[in-house]
Assembly symmetry: C2
Homo-oligomer: 351 residues x 2
Amino acid sequence: MNQQLQHLMNCIQSVDQTIRPSVEDHLNDLTKPPGSLGKLEQIAMRYCLMTGTDRPRTGKKKIFTFGADHGVADEGVSAFPKVVTQQMVMNMLSGGAAINVLARHVGADLAVVDMGVDWPVERRAGLIDCSVRSGTANMATGPAMEVAEAEKALLAGAELADKAANEGYTLLGTGEMGIANTTPSAALFASLLPCPVEEVTGRGTGVDDTVLKHKIDIIKKSLEVNRECLQTPLDALAAVGGLEIAGICGLILGAAARKIPVVVDGFISSAGAMVACRMNPAVKDYLFFSHLSQEVGHQTFFKLFDVQPILDLEFRLGEGTGAAMAMPVIEAAIHIYNEMATFSSAGISGS
Amino acid sequence: MNQQLQHLMNCIQSVDQTIRPSVEDHLNDLTKPPGSLGKLEQIAMRYCLMTGTDRPRTGKKKIFTFGADHGVADEGVSAFPKVVTQQMVMNMLSGGAAINVLARHVGADLAVVDMGVDWPVERRAGLIDCSVRSGTANMATGPAMEVAEAEKALLAGAELADKAANEGYTLLGTGEMGIANTTPSAALFASLLPCPVEEVTGRGTGVDDTVLKHKIDIIKKSLEVNRECLQTPLDALAAVGGLEIAGICGLILGAAARKIPVVVDGFISSAGAMVACRMNPAVKDYLFFSHLSQEVGHQTFFKLFDVQPILDLEFRLGEGTGAAMAMPVIEAAIHIYNEMATFSSAGISGS
């Protein structure tokens, strides 16, 4: 691992549990039966621990949507042609994608980051350019990228988080756009959860039974071809991952180092989050998993990774759409913590 | 049924399905795989049908939290003493309850309505006074109220919806506060779904095993004592229901008559919604069920009533808290429908 990345790893510490009793006491003194606000109370507790204060505050929030292409798309594993990655990135820059609408709805800023889109036409302005290479190589025939390239993508993601922290953002979200990217995500889950390929491979944007079977075969072939290159989480990310997944992983590492909570989007973002947690288990303390995707493997992930999603809106889109929808739920939890009356102040009889 | 109520029933019509194909075409032309925004797409469709337009708009929203007391509280079925109803209503008027915080968070106005709080001290200003009587009678020994009283409460609720429609509100939410009110709600579910009492009776604000068993016995006794008074949904509402449940039911009837979508809160609000739907099945077209409550019987309700909740935040508080949390999800659906680019406009390749 390169030195800069090793330094980043060393900066990430588990949350300090010291304030847990005082946060719990306050939550139980609010004018409601203890625990009756369910997930909001759990979120409030975790947010306090993440940010190291029993006086939590809401603030500016930002979603990072990472775009990149995948060599494995050449194997015909997606319902959409590869060119759609750059078309959708352009759509995001024009404000017409779902993530634009939902980020605006929840009051989050949106950054669209080129981690490695394979542009068939000239690149346009407006993107944050962190491109490491024009799409990955086909992982079914060899490593998707070099380890040094994965490291470069990780550090680029981490730098975005660091910059956001310096700019005063207090909540970050992940998102992605990359045709075929459920395929490397499934490969990463199979390799690092670990679990059978079949349990984490689904229909992506909507492939039929024949393509689904083919997709499973391609993922198995990729894991076999790269079996010598899966020794560490970083190695696996390079061999069977993707550039946008590395960007997400890096953003999460960078945010955890600064103690900024991150809202993880869906299936692909969870793959990036898992790699980050496998690189440093303390990272998990700083993550909110926004939603359960319709991509079938996401359930396997939640079960084996022992985490729970906040929402289930039956999304299977990515882009950061689930992260956007979960952000106001997290803010609601902080408002509940700060603004409700207490039993003593309101003169309410206890049970 | 009194004449005014009969007139209200006659005003409620099922939604017109004529615009369904054009709404569906538009949803499928948005730049995302068809159906990939899951519940948001279903909500957008239903909102269009409810409001009778393929150009839906967001607007002002208001939550009505109905407070009332229950004679059956005397049987010791709740973890909290009856006086907490008025204390919590006062807390809502002071802005310190969970519903105040969450309504503010989502930008909804809040109205606190006295449908029949049993005030042991003087009533205070700020409440909308629709009180029919000071709490119901104990349903374990006879009808909770007269049918004429239930009708009065229904019409009061309907009038609030009508007034809100006239004031330009485009989305209404229900909520309640009433110590012991999971007990009449369970009785109504058992009587009108119908189903065994055990399947819809839970721990409310947190009773132990002994009280839960006693609560089930009391509900069975109430249904037995009132068996002659359960012929129609209105009769059941009067005999084993509650004043705030009648207020919720009336609000829903009034909103449906004006084609205003209503966001139904949790377990108790669902009981009110069910009574409204049993009185006129067309009402169901205008309802969004906000969340799955932790109150165990709510799952039974969703299964037997064949509807799905939008959220599962593990709430068991009521007040309208779940309705508040679902409102921005509904608004997100409308924004998606109105603001996303289409495939043709954005020049995106199809699958």
